[in-house]
């Protein structure tokens, strides 16, 4: 499993790893476990500009279609083409090979949660 330190999480279960003004985005282990088997993703176009909270795609699992929201602002630099052929990577390695997109020109979002705060959110009452 990929290194988790330095990840920040949104309350809608996306993670972001920011390095300089670029960022990699995916969904959390908790999110993939709740979605179940992922079978298809809809991606944004490279070059699309996203604001915090913008819907950037859809993940379809056997159970349901779920929207994906950008945890930071930036411009789409790349999408993970491997997920088009192997959507199960999102289940098997959500923090590594299951990344979804990379953004450039990213401004940090101070409202994101660190790992402890995120774990408290998903392990809290009601889960």
């Amino acid at each position: 499993m990929a290194e988790l330190s330095g990840l920040r999480f949104s309350e809608s279960h996306e993670w972001v790893r920011q390095e300089g003004d670029t960022a990699t985005i995916g969904i959390s282990e908790y999110a993939q476990s709740q979605l179940g088997d992922v079978i298809y993703l809809e991606f944004p176009s490279v070059g699309q500009k996203l604001k915090v909270g913008d819907r950037f795609g859809v993940v379809e699992s056997v159970k349901a279609a779920s929207d994906l929201y950008s945890p930071v602002a930036g411009e789409v630099a790349a999408v993970n083409d491997a997920l088009k052929e192997h959507p199960e990577l999102l289940n098997n390695d959500p923090y590594g090979k299951g990344w979804i997109l990379k953004l450039r020109g990213v401004s940090p979002n101070p409202k994101l949660l660190d790992q402890d705060a995120y774990n408290a959110l998903v392990e809290g009452p009601g889960h």
């Binding site: 476990s33 179940g36 379809e60 056997v62 159970k63 349901a64 279609a65």
Partner: protein, 366 residues
């Protein structure tokens, strides 16, 4: 998706599901396993080896009395008088308007009959049956009955290995009384997956022992516990209807494509309304759709014909076995021929789809 477990009913196997790490969900008022490992793996286990299902949430209604045959003929769309002892048959329970109250299996217990009904409908069904039968002849046995499904190509041999006597004469839609793993069971060659297999009725107090013995003995042939997620993707491939998705009180059996289970030449509740619709022509019929791209059709999505909404998806999902996405949908009869090109409105985009024959999947060696 899930509701607090305390407010919903539990089957005798609830603790077993938790022990196996199941994700639980509220289904028809019952806390049931949605999946144990992965819906895909559980689905594939049933198609290639065997799956073990807790079906104890299903309802059971026993009907006894000297006039039970006549009363059930009046309640059910399919024939009961011709159902031999030891045999089961699919039928529908309809209201006077011809709307489907439930779909079920009727078993000839000789003496008496057993109706196996959907979990979420069992109390509604019982009230309906009790209102149309003499006092005391219908009994609501759903909560006094456990039911375990063993489905898949390896399932018959597995159940046979644990049974006290031969099962090879138990044909499809037949049942016998046997001990399985020492537990007295009604062993029924029925299922909701499109595979061969058995459904085992037993006392709730014996369910855990039977479940554990089947799991232990099944390990070496690749049996896996399978949840409601896999049950849904399996039944959809087999073209089997799901009450609440494909069938409801606003749908009549002919629209649902279940005319083979409707005998309009006998008198039953709803017959006149269904007969009228048949004469006037159906406004919509059920078809199978095969998606051309990877979009997934879901319950309630609109079906489009050259951009115009003409129908509705009633069930849809990925078909793990076939490798494409499929749906059951209501469309006008004029657009129902196999090969017709339609589309499904998937989040505002028209995803192309073709009408295909049902069932989507048929097991290789029936």
């Amino acid at each position: 998706m899930t509701q607090p477990v305390a407010t919903v009913e539990r089957t005798p196997l609830f603790e077993e599901h938790l022990r196996l790490g199941a994700q639980m969900t509220n289904f028809g008022g019952w806390s049931m396993p949605l999946q144990y490992s992965s819906i895909r793996e559980e689905h594939q286990a049933v198609r290639s080896a065997a799956g073990l299902f807790d079906l104890s949430h299903m309802g059971e209604i026993e009907v006894s009395g000297t006039d039970a045959v006549a009363q059930l003929e009046r309640l059910l769309t399919n024939e009961v008088a011709t159902l031999k002892p030891g045999r089961a048959r699919y039928a529908l329970l309809c209201n006077e308007q011809g709307g489907i109250l439930d779909d079920l299996l009727v078993y000839n217990l000789s003496p008496g009959y057993l109706l196996v009904v959907n979990a979420g409908n069992q109390d509604k069904d019982f009230e309906w049956v009790a209102a149309h039968t003499p006092a005391g002849t219908a009994r609501n046995m759903g909560r006094q009955t456990a039911l375990i499904g063993v489905q898949g190509p390896r399932a018959p041999a597995l159940v046979q290995r644990l049974a006290d006597r031969d099962l090879k004469d138990v044909k499809y839609y037949a049942f016998v009384d046997r001990r399985v793993a020492g537990v007295p069971c009604r062993v029924s060659r029925t299922g909701y997956t499109g595979e061969d297999g058995f459904e085992l009725f037993c006392q709730p107090s014996e369910a855990v022992r039977l479940w554990q013995r089947l799991l232990d003995a099944g390990g070496e042939v690749g049996l896996k516990p399978a949840g409601l997620g896999a049950r849904d993707t399996l039944r959809l491939e087999a073209g089997m209807r799901l009450y609440g998705n494909d069938l409801d009180e606003q749908t009549n059996p002919l629209e649902a494509g279940l005319d083979w289970a409707v005998k309009l030449d006998k008198d039953f509740i709803g017959r006149d309304a269904i007969g009228r619709v048949a004469q006037q022509g159906l406004p919509r019929v059920t078809v199978g759709l095969r998606m051309r791209d990877r979009s997934i059709p879901r319950h309630g999505y609109r079906v489009l014909d050259e951009g115009r909404p003409v129908g509705t998806v009633s069930s849809g999902n990925v078909s793990f076995t076939l490798g494409y996405n499929i749906a059951l949908a209501f469309v006008p009869p004029a657009r129902s021929q196999v090969g017709t090109s339609l589309a499904v409105d998937v989040r505002g985009a028209a995803a192309p789809a073709d009408v295909v024959a049902l069932p989507f999947y048929r097991r290789p060696h029936p």
